[in-house]
């Protein structure tokens, strides 16, 4: 139970950002809801999954048929629903991830996708224009008009930063207790590493607050040094 609660807490930021994005979206096109529900169901339990496959294919074929007859709105609504549901689907799959690396990469992907949709969707809450802005955002990054992949429109930082801080703590604990059947063990090694990471987070937050332009450089340097130290310490041969 505790492990489940920790996992949910760890994945709360992408969910919160997605819900904030959805709150401002125009759901007058019901195909958006259909798209979202079918995609969410497909990543649900095994029993519901096969029913959801039908829920994905039937509307998809139907809307393609309508598109061919000149009605583009249902097709666009369905596709928009898929896109809007993608951070939540990624979150669900991350929740059931068994490895620490899978948990970390899933968390990152879900977080980034929700930020992307929030930033794009902020400009237009209509399914028809969601695509255009999404593609524009990606092409502008590829053509190097922008350096940052995250759109300029971001959720309120105060709220998300607090939530992310708590989620990070939960994420770290979840990473360490990922083995099924094994309860969380607070051993000196784990505790020391946890304290070190919390301390580094505190220092980095202060750097980000007072010297925001130095954050990236400081983080990169620290990570490279840590990776080097790890590689050096592990080079010894076994007995």
């Amino acid at each position: 139970m505790m492990a489940k609660a920790l996992r949910i807490a760890a994945l709360s930021p992408p969910v919160a950002i997605s819900l904030m994005a959805l709150a401002e979206f125009d759901f007058s096109n019901y195909y958006v809801v259909v798209g979202m529900v079918s995609l969410l169901l497909i990543s649900s339990t095994e029993r519901v999954k096969w029913a959801a496959v039908g829920l994905v294919y039937i509307p998809a074929i139907y809307t393609v048929g309508l598109l061919l007859t000149g009605q583009a709105a249902p097709f666009l609504g369905l596709a928009a629903g898929y896109i809007l549901a993608s951070p939540l689907v990624l979150t669900i799959s991350t929740y059931s991830s068994r490895s620490a690396s899978g948990l970390l990469s899933g968390y990152f992907t879900a977080y980034t996708t929700s930020l992307l949709i929030y930033g794009v969707e902020g400009k237009s809450a209509q399914p028809e224009t969601l695509f255009i802005h999404l593609v524009r955002n990606i092409t502008s990054f590829i053509t190097q008009e922008r350096v940052n992949f995250v759109p300029p429109e971001t959720p309120p930082t105060n709220l998300i930063a607090s939530l992310t801080a708590l989620a990070t703590l939960a994420l770290i604990i979840t990473m360490a207790s990922r083995r099924p059947g094994l309860s969380l063990k607070i051993k000196p090694v784990f505790l020391n590493a946890l304290i070190m990471s919390v301390a580094s987070l505190t220092v980095s937050t202060l750097v980000a607050f007072f010297l925001p332009s130095m954050v990236s450089l400081a983080i990169l340097t620290t990570i490279v040094v840590l990776a080097f130290l790890t590689a050096v310490s592990l080079r010894g041969k076994d007995a």
Binding site: A100, F108, V147, T164, V189, I223, D238, A239
Partner: protein
Amino acid sequence: MLTREGYALALTSFLLSALTSTIVIYHPLTLSMFAAAVFSFMYILMASRELRSLKPKDFTFTRTVSNQDPKPGERVAVKVVVVNKAGRDLELVVVDGFEGLTLVEGNVVVEKHVKHGEEAELQYVVEADRRGVYSLGPLVVKVSDDFGLCCKYITLEREARLLVRPRLVEKPRLMDSVRRAQALSISGSGFSVKFGADDVFREITEYEEGQPLKNIEWRRTAREDGQIYVRKYDKLNRLRVVFLIDCTVSNMVGKPSLMDTTISSVASTALALLQKGDAVAVKALGAAEPATFYAYNTVDFEGLNTFLTKLKPGLGFDLKKEVEELSWFDAVFLVGRLSSVDGHELRLVENDVRRRKGVLFTIIPVLSDGSEVMRLLNELEMLRIKKVKKQAEFVSVVRHTELPQYLAYLHRMLRAVP
């Protein structure tokens, strides 16, 4: 060292941290990834440091083998027990290895959370389908941290040798087919020993199957009700028998191979000879490590058997030179396919043996006709042997299944020659 999961986590956290501080910049996410990366690296560093303090002396182990003297096809049950003496709980994976053997039952890997003083047990059964030197081990313990991110391998034992000795034929009986088909194939006329001439009475014992009827002690037998007694004699003359085994790779055909069958037969016959008081020498012709082993009594048989067990096939040999190097013999058994020897060379060797007052038996074992391919191969082999026999008519051809009986037959016949 890192486990696969440890590598994946270190790499993922490094890349994500680099990504979120360069091209996917959102400060809460960036800091979050940074904290996760710091935790990952710090944990790996500290856990590996803790694991490094473990030494082989932190474990005790025993490996029990059920069959100390296995024969080809016999099963060997192995039980390995590793006890944690590290003074703390450990996540252990015990791995035992084996080389050349076949795993029949069980598992050579066990994963267990072991408290101090507790043990991890491993049980498995292996077998070897041919004689040879095999190995059990190395016995390795993999100790990992609680979360399986880093581990340390500790080798508790390098390798333990397992000798699978040739299967001996107990009391080989003379098969009718052998008796009927094989003519006396003795080459040479000089006998240096007067066989059985100088028997000295030793004791009277109960009769055992295979003992000569002429030795029955009739007086004692008549006194006892239903029990037959025989006289036993010590032979003052000792027969010196040399086995020359063709150990070239051409003898590796068949299953079991001709070489293995030959070795088993030679071992059985050598034991019978030693028990009768004869001296035996075995010379491996063309083996990977050519050598000669001399056995003078039954105590030496253990060494002879080990010598035979370790024989590995090689490339070729010079038969004439090998025979010239022999220091003594009364009878020489040359056994194997002899694919690298022609009839002329055999004839020269035969002359050499005769000149040195010995007897030469040349035996070529052939495989039984199992399949169509085997039948064709046998036909080719017989053509080759026929060509050899044109120059060396004393060569005997025996089915490999009948080789032990045939060698026993030759041995008895040798003893019976006046």
